[in-house]
Symmetry: C2
Subunit: 344 residues, 2 copies
């Protein structure tokens, strides 16, 4: 993937093993041709002919910060890295196009693991129709993967930012939340959830380790008239706050309306955690949260159903303070930054 | 720069200090508007209207691999990270356009150092007319910076890859080489070069710590008819090998013709190193190496002179083996991967 390993501080000739690894990586990552691509992996830069408008995002995941190798196998690292970047394109309503990958390889990551990671990147890219056109492979003290993803639209106006929500708009959420957070609990504290049946643990863990960006849905919601959109990567509360701040509206969400992922309630109960706090605070579910003008909600719901995903109206935008309020069903609220609770 | 710090493994609310840092980073990096940019830092993705053809490259530099903080201050880390990526655009003959940055911040990198690093990124971007449209700031065990750079051309055919060199083409080198390698020697082994006058050490060190991509020159050489081009980031020998392999030609270079950077001979002598091996093997000079059809060499030389940079014919492309031969002036050769010598 890379030409830039050789640097003076730890100068290293590429060994034949390394050249072979790079060739194998190229095979895995470079197979999707890309309709806008003219030159892919292997030159100083990739060449594309984009046309229209592009949406571009950069995201990285780092061992010890976003995952631990003890619970996140290399393939899942690749899947999560690619999904995280593509999820931002989904949140713009962009058609996914190309990806560029940097892989920081620690010494312990052997050839097989390195290729498994690339398989993870490739499977998510392939499912999304994304061409991996460039990359860089370097040594690194910690495993890290940085992905730049480029999406497209015919016109700039087709892309949906965070700033367009208006008071009175409905707040809608795709799919379910809390699954990835519950999966993390299950993997990081297996002793706590030992009594939870496998069929409830497995979907939560899969949600964490094999996330899929809601790309088709994002485009459908953009066409249906979403006024603002964001992906739920930091947690429902935190991402609602991002949207509220960008759009300069207040947001009120009824947590009782938000569908919880399979296994969330059972895992939260086993771990002595409040399922609503877990669901509102944990990130990594990669659902879409959007504002939709009241007259378009039904259209949006049908558009979501057509791509096989439930869209639930969970709240509304209000004039004023840019504050986010997460109401509990029986009264009371959950703090938007529920994330913090995971810390203790 | 980022919205994606919060992740479940080390869940962290952004503190007000962190929000303030991000605001300060945005001020530093987001000031260049970018003629193709419609939405910059702060949404899920940046929005641009590129048109024509784009060249896209991703590069990362990592502490302990590409630099050590003992000799590379934060501002230089930023300058080097941005220059490395933009140099790939120069080597394509692309007009520089946009950049996207991931900064992996270790705990020891305080606010001031973080901003100094961003100032380094910004100064190189600003000089090049590059708009930084997106970013991601996360915690990281080691300091790492990943930059994706996007360049433009009106038509795909204006971009110059590595694969177009033909037997008979001249091999030309911009500027001088060996400076960054000598600078690294001076910084990493100060005791060896204590006797070298400051006025010979300073330019070599500046070459290493404050590199500038040859963007204007790259475009000029593309217009002048360069058939293949690469930036000298891995070292003259290694990068000539990349070009030879991509173009399926042999390359012969007369090292005696290649201009050495200021201080290279003095520093090499003081360190007991062969200056030609140092110059051919060390990377990071970010000069351009290109193949030019014989009838266009004079045109290319004048085009380079017009942007203030010397272009020297140092060799030629030959039929055959894709091998690179680096001739010493008095006979004998230097191994193309001279890099390896720095290891011992």
């Amino acid at each position: 993937v890379a030409e830039a390993v050789n640097q003076p501080e730890q100068p290293q000739m590429r060994s034949s093993e390394e050249f072979d690894l790079i060739a194998s990586i190229r095979e895995r990552l470079g197979s999707q041709p890309g309709e806008r691509a003219r030159v892919g992996i292997g030159d100083d830069a990739a060449v594309t002919v984009p046309g229209g408008a592009t949406a571009t995002t950069i995201d990285a995941i780092v061992e010890g910060v976003h995952f631990r190798s003890s619970w996140c196998p290399p393939r899942a690292v690749g899947e999560r890295a690619m999904a995280t970047a593509l999820s931002d394109l989904a949140a713009m309503g962009a058609e996914p196009g190309e990806a560029y990958v940097w892989l920081g390889r620690p010494e312990w990551l052997d050839r097989e693991s390195c290729l498994a990671l690339c398989d993870g990147l490739a499977v998510v890219a392939r499912e999304a129709g994304v061409a991996v056109l460039g990359g860089d492979l370097t040594a690194s003290p910690a495993l890290a993967v940085c992905v730049t993803a480029v999406g497209h639209a015919e016109r700039e106006g087709e892309l949906v930012g965070r700033a367009g929500a208006r008071p009175g708009d409905a707040i809608c959420l795709s799919g379910s939340i809390g699954g990835a957070g519950a999966g993390l609990l299950a993997l990081s504290s297996p002793e706590l959830v030992a009594g939870v049946p496998e069929e409830l643990r497995a979907p939560a863990i899969a949600r964490l380790l094999a996330p899929r960006p809601r790309l088709e849905l994002g485009r459908a919601l953009a066409r249906a008239g979403a006024s603002a959109m964001i992906d739920v990567s930091d947690g429902l509360g935190a991402d609602a706050e991002h949207l509220a701040a960008a759009s300069e509206v207040g947001i009120e969400i009824d947590l009782g309306l938000a569908p919880l992922g399979a296994g969330v309630e059972a895992i939260a109960a086993a771990a002595g955690r409040d399922p609503l706090e877990l669901a509102a605070g944990a990130g990594d579910d990669y659902e879409l949260l959007c504002a939709i003008p009241p007259g378009r909600v039904e259209v949006a719901r049908r558009a979501a159903a057509e791509v096989g995903i439930a869209l639930t109206e969970v709240g509304r935008c209000e004039k004023g303070s840019e504050a986010v309020r997460l109401n509990r069903p029986g009264g009371g609220v959950v703090a938007p930054g529920g994330h913090d609770h995971l810390r203790g």
